[in-house]
């Protein structure tokens, strides 16, 4: 080529200069574990389903939940949502309203009758005892894996304590029924009114290849109080059960509930709705120490329930109870003071916790029971080969979410057992902790308020207290999610690289580094809002 004066070389491109050789550290895309997912006892991939919901892909979002938990409409109401306590957004403004979005998705599924299909039949049969959240979750996950499941349930309806304890104003029954029906539609057989008294006999009778026991803790704890027995002393769980069966419950006049857990408040709030003159919760420690959920206490107070803390009931008399005032010692333990007072009472309800009736396990070789709970290993296997146990009857937190998680875990183990495989624990990803995030990039967005029924309208019946998010609000809440630890295609890395060393692969395909030119400056790592890029030293 003819060259101008003093020019001897052709024009070249700087692409010939592979600046990647300068690098001492390389950026690498990772998926870190969001704190919500890490926290969820049912193992939901919260961030992933919020991601889908953000785009309005509700059915896909719902299916993402269903991979882990068959009860979004139930969970979106009664789950204690510790995910929200763990949510990184809490440090920024307020946690994402995960629970409300879950409920929205669960209700969408019921409205549009989205279904889940059972897996291709494996020819194996599994027996599940107890149709509570643990048993049903296990049955669902087994059915998805193609196993035939028979659930034996002692009472006349499925749902366990979610049906027989949680009042309707917190858990509307049509939603509960719809989510259970969906599992039955997958081919799971639930035999009602079939209490198991001897597990070995039941296994032999039903000829199954594996068993999951989840009979829950149904028996209210009793307390022998010195009494002249003129005030009826009732059991909280029994009352809630009768309420569900629409049998007459004697919650009238002055109802005194003894205990500080959720059960106490469910009874106290039910009493208000049934027209009690007074509904008083008596608890021996302070209000801060109450195991009941804060929202539960708040809503109860709004409805007119009253509290008497640092107080123990010592005697049941003639239309009155004697209560002793307690004081906290230096260690924060309640101690007697000797000072007493009287409380006028029509009925006393004991809400002191529940025990499990494990009679069905007594003859099973290898199954050990200690402190009223079944001993299991970390995979929920009992000492007997082929028998797993979970939910309220094993040592763990007692709530529906944990029970659902147990059901899934046992189903995975049983599935592996039936296939003759050993399940390998997946490697846990590194936590997407707050320090890995760059929250500058998220829009300021206060949390949406969940509609709540006015207190006066609540106390006149059993209508649901907490309202729905409408679609716009659900979408907004989903979009408040910061997608901790998982790329959400904000294009920041692609934009901020001074060396054009990030390749954008297109919608849904994320990005790739071009290590030929990446100098390893780390700007993309610093500016990734969600902490989805790690810095790895180069082998030099």
């Amino acid at each position: 080529m003819e060259k101008p004066f003093a020019i001897t070389l052709d024009v070249g491109s700087s692409l010939a200069n592979k600046t990647g050789s300068w690098r001492t550290h390389r950026p690498v895309y990772v998926d870190r574990l969001p704190p919500c997912n890490n926290q969820c006892p049912a193992g939901e991939n919260v961030q992933a389903w919020l991601y889908l919901a953000e785009e309005g892909r509700y059915e896909e979002a719902w299916r993402k939940i269903m991979e882990e938990n068959p009860f979004p409409a139930i969970m979106g109401r009664v789950c204690y949502h510790t995910c929200e306590t763990a949510c990184n957004r809490g440090a920024l403004d307020e946690a994402v309203g995960i629970n409300g979005v879950e409920r929205f998705l669960g209700d969408q599924a019921i409205k549009y009758q989205w279904r889940v299909e059972a897996g291709a039949p494996t020819g194996k049969r599994v027996l599940v005892v107890g149709a509570g959240p643990a048993g049903l979750s296990c049955a669902y996950h087994l059915a998805r894996r193609g196993h035939a499941v028979t659930v034996l349930e002692g009472s006349d309806k499925a749902g366990g304590m979610v049906r027989y304890s949680i009042p309707k104003y917190r858990m509307p029954r049509e939603k509960l029924n719809a989510e259970i029906r969906r599992i039955v539609d997958m081919g799971v057989e639930i035999r009602l009114n079939s209490p198991v008294e001897d597990l070995c006999a039941a296994i032999a009778h039903h000829g199954c290849d594996a068993t999951f026991v989840a009979v829950g803790a149904q028996r209210g704890r009793h307390l022998q109080l010195p009494s002249t027995a003129r005030v009826p002393v009732l059991d909280a769980v029994q009352i809630l059960r009768d309420l569900e069966r629409e049998e007459a419950v004697p919650l009238r006049g002055r109802v005194i509930v003894y205990g500080g857990g959720n059960t106490a408040f469910d009874v106290a709030r039910s009493a208000v709705r049934l027209g009690a003159i007074e509904s008083l919760v008596v608890y021996r420690r302070t209000r801060e120490k109450m195991p009941a959920h804060r929202s539960e206490i708040r809503e109860a107070l709004e409805e007119g329930v009253t509290l008497r803390c640092l107080s123990t009931i010592t005697h049941v008399g003639d239309g009155v109870l004697t209560a002793e005032r307690m004081e906290l010692d230096a260690k924060g333990q309640p101690q007697s003071t000797g000072e007493t007072e009287t409380i006028v009472a029509t009925t006393l309800v004991l809400a002191l916790g529940q025990d499990a009736d494990l009679g069905l396990l007594s003859g099973v070789p290898g199954v050990r029971v200690a402190d009223g709970l079944v001993e299991v290993d970390r995979n929920l296997a009992t000492g007997a080969v082929g028998i797993w146990a979970g939910g309220d009857i094993v040592p763990a937190d007692r709530n529906a979410t944990v029970a659902i998680g147990h059901g899934k875990k046992a189903a995975r183990q049983i599935d592996a057992f039936l296939r003759g495989e050993v399940l390998r624990r997946p490697v846990k990803h590194e936590l997407a902790s707050a320090d890995k995030m760059n929250t500058w990039y998220y829009s300021d967005a206060p949390r949406a308020i969940r509609p709540i029924l006015e207190a006066v309208r609540r106390t006149s019946g059993f209508a649901e207290v907490v309202g729905d998010y409408d679609e716009g609000t659900a979408l907004y809440e989903a979009r408040r999610c910061m997608s901790c630890g998982n790329c959400f295609e904000c294009d920041n890395c692609y934009g901020v690289c001074p060396d054009n060393a990030v390749i954008k692969l297109g919608p849904g395909k994320r990005f790739e580094f071009n290590y030929d030119y990446c100098k390893g400056c780390g700007v993309c790592i610093s500016e990734c809002p969600c902490g989805a890029i790690a810095r790895i030293p180069e082998a030099i």
């Binding site: 052709d10 690289c497 030119y517």
Partner: protein, 332 residues
Amino acid sequence: MEPQIIKFYQTGSFAVGNRLLDDSQRSVQADMRRSNSLNSGHRACQGCGEALGARYAIDAAMQATKNQLIAVNATGCLEVFSTPYPETSWQLPWIHSLFGNAAAVATGVAAAMRVKGREEVRVIAQGGDGGTTDIGFGCLSGMFERNDDVLYICYDNEGYMNTGVQRSSATPPAARTSTTATLGADPGNVFGQGKFVPAIAMAHEIPYVATASVAYLRDLEAKVHRAMSLRGARYLHIFVPCPLGWGAASEDTIRLARLVVETGLFPLFEAEHGEVTGRYHIRNRVPVEEYLKLQKRYAHLFGKRPAVDTIGRIQAMADRNIRRYGLLGEEA
């Protein structure tokens, strides 16, 4: 800056892109077909703010002019790291002449285009702060005063970085450079000297003057677009951190470019014909220490006996900017 009404889309317009937004509402940099005017393989340091700022600005101008663009470059890092003979990183017609004459050369190129009847071809002159606020200042002022049809972009890294971090008239007080040692009673660059060229440009009452920072991409692109929609002399002053010259970590480039604005030390505004027409309101105000302590050029202000007075004087500069440019918005 135009007030932007953005519905809530997770990151709004803070991030480069946003998968929830329509393509047309995303930044030029989010586009898979952006022109990458300054291509890979350039020899800028790791985390160079100037390389980033140049690509942001020129890509936006390329988009605004449908690629009918010529760039004239002053001597300086941007020129040296992008064009070691015979390679070039530039993917547009580009010309370099001298350190101090970029504005004059650009005037000439614009005149040539006009004579050839190619008025759709637009001209940008660009250079560092040394080339702009010091040696090229005469040519620049002439270009403004004649209202030549050029957008001049200054990439301000607060010193003569290419020749070894010497002080320029854009170097801030107290900063250490190789010519403002941290010795004596008032270590580092002196207070009360130097100049803020955007204000001088406004005094020329040219059609458009704006400041920008590489941490505020959408704002930067909007300003380039506005500038390219106008004819006559226009000036854009972009704040571009220099990890090497400032003794900062390479990954902190954008963080610094953000903190300088959120402290109030560098005001973001735009002006037309000498009047301020828009300003960025500080979103998350922070004390100047947050910005200073990330840079070794200010290390002498910290340590065992922090130079509280000096830091206070720098804070006072930030506070004055906030007052002068109204950077706090309504609540103020």
